[in-house]
């Protein structure tokens, strides 16, 4: 792991999907065993040109998620390196049994890209808004759940998974992320990334909530509260040591997730804390509700995924020390 933080809160020039397509192109040129399976969302994820350029390595399965995951499992059994994509809600809810048996239990190797996590599904609304995908997968032994923070991290982790064995769920927004890491930064899957050191409280976040947490730390700083920010981009296996150290160093934790507070990042962090380092804690996230249509900014306000709400929760947990 070797990274630098970009504190400018600026939107990236390239969309996450464009960087995904670029990365897959690089990978397939290095290894013709890379195969990309899609459930009729090639246009949505920006892989149409990839499919044109590498027709032997791209399969549009049609709208059949269960068969897509099973087919990917079978391909991996003969040495292919499959990546699958559909929206995160369908990748998990519609193919959970296939991920469990043909994937994890059979010890095959599949990288499952689930796009539009939580509120980033925006105008597709509640039916397409995965707020439960992490929770559905977290109980499957051995699975790895990753939520890349920006395109620099996405590029790095996608490349890493191509050379690794197991079931990987990569949860990503297709749109432009806020840049958090300088170009060329590298990461270790399973290791949390310290964004900012602090002494009073630790804000633990993933995905689009990392930048909001960085902004929350700035709000708190103005009130003489020194907040640490920890990016736990691998929700499973979770970095227990980093979470324990954060709790010891700051004595209070707020988790921030674009997911139901049940069975997501907050639950995973809480499990570590109650077993090892109990400290006052709060979970910012969707409070056991379904999603709805709206702009991402509206939905962040609606569900409390804002710097202001994170800061408010931070002050509250500090008062409980």
């Amino acid at each position: 792991m070797n990274y630098k933080i970009d504190n400018r809160h600026a939107a990236e020039k390239l969309a996450m999907r464009d960087v995904y397509a670029e990365t897959m192109t690089e990978l397939v040129k290095e290894n013709p065993r890379i195969v990309y399976l899609e459930a009729d969302l090639m246009n949505s994820i920006g892989m149409v040109n990839f499919a044109k350029e590498f027709p032997d390595n791209a399969i549009n399965c049609g709208i059949q998620e269960a068969n897509m995951i099973g087919t990917a499992a079978g391909m991996s059994a003969v040495g292919m390196i499959p990546f699958t994509h559909t929206f995160g809600c369908f990748a998990t809810r519609r193919a959970l049994d296939q991920i469990f048996l043909s994937g994890a239990y059979a010890k095959t190797n599949i990288r499952i890209l689930g796009s539009d996590p939580g509120v980033t599904a925006a105008f597709n609304g509640a039916t397409h808004m995965p707020l439960e995908d992490i929770g559905l997968l977290r109980g499957i032994p051995g699975i790895t759940i990753i939520e890349p923070t920006d395109s620099t991290m996405l590029r790095d982790v996608v490349k890493q998974t191509a050379a690794m064995e197991g079931i990987f769920y990569i949860r990503l927004s297709r749109k432009n992320a806020i840049k958090v890491f300088a170009e060329g930064s590298t990461f270790d899957i399973g290791k949390a990334v310290s964004i900012k050191k602090g002494t009073d409280v630790t804000l633990i976040a993933s995905g689009i909530c990392v930048d909001e947490s960085m902004k929350a730390a700035e709000i708190l700083q103005a009130q003489n509260v020194n907040a640490a920010v920890l990016n736990v981009f691998t929700v499973k296996p979770i970095d227990r040591e980093a979470i324990m150290a954060a709790a010891k160093n700051t004595g209070a934790v707020v988790t921030v997730e674009n997911h139901n507070i049940h069975n997501g990042l907050g639950s995973a962090v809480a499990e570590v804390l109650v077993e090892t380092t109990p400290v006052p804690m709060a979970r910012v996230g969707i409070q056991d509700e379904f999603g709805e249509v709206g702009s991402v900014e509206y939905l962040k306000e609606r569900f409390g995924l804002t710097a202001e709400n994170i800061a408010k929760n931070a002050l509250n947990v500090i008062s409980r020390k």
Partner: protein, 274 residues
Amino acid sequence: MYQSREPKEFAQEIRIQVLEALKNLGFGHIGGSMSAVDVLAVLYGKAMNIEPANPGWEDRDYFVMSKGHAGPALYATLALSGYFPVEELKTINTNGTRLPSHCDRNKTPGVDMSTGALGQGMSTAIGIAHGNKMLKKDSYTYLLLGDGECDEGQIWEGALYAPQHKLSNLIAFVDYNKQQLDGYTKDILDLGDLGKKFIEFGWYTIEVDGHNTDAIYGAIQLAKAQHEKPGMIILNTKKGKGCTFAEGILYNHHMTFTKEQCEEAIASLKKGDQ
């Protein structure tokens, strides 16, 4: 080099070993194991290109037992083919065994895919066949589906996919024994003319007597002789075939039985009554 075996005699041996393996346990998936024996005898006795001494050989033919509960029939076939000792069959479903109720590719030598949740073997077999086609291998992938299993939507997802991608290296079978756990398929969810359905979906489809090993072998050769479509061989079978206490019984999917019943069934098979 693997020695081929006469399928009809091999089938009788497999049935006997299934009963030998389960007789001390006193329970098991007898019905669907017995109906699937003859196709297994044809595949592992004669049709498949395999090396039991080297189960991981990359150029082998693959077999996916999608009706994973027929594990005992596959285990007896694999043991008699030399993948592991026949004596090990007695450990089926005992604590710590390598031979669990449903097929597990990480536990049993020779099992090519883990199955048990119905419908999933359709897709994994498709993936193996499609992957091997992409890798330009000459091997075949064989797939055994249950008829009750064809209630699952995933079967029909795969039924669309395989012809679309011209997977002629995939040869599937349906063990059409007309029964599922709760009764007759026509009473629970009628499959109608199954052959016609697969023809309409674009499969090269043949129906044969699923207990006639010559007919099964012939159908496999016909399926191999064409190069555009996946093959679907519908095996008209009897659930519990050849097992005196199971054949013709309504609830024979998973049964309890006595050691004496097993001995009687084995004696009957040895006499050639079945």
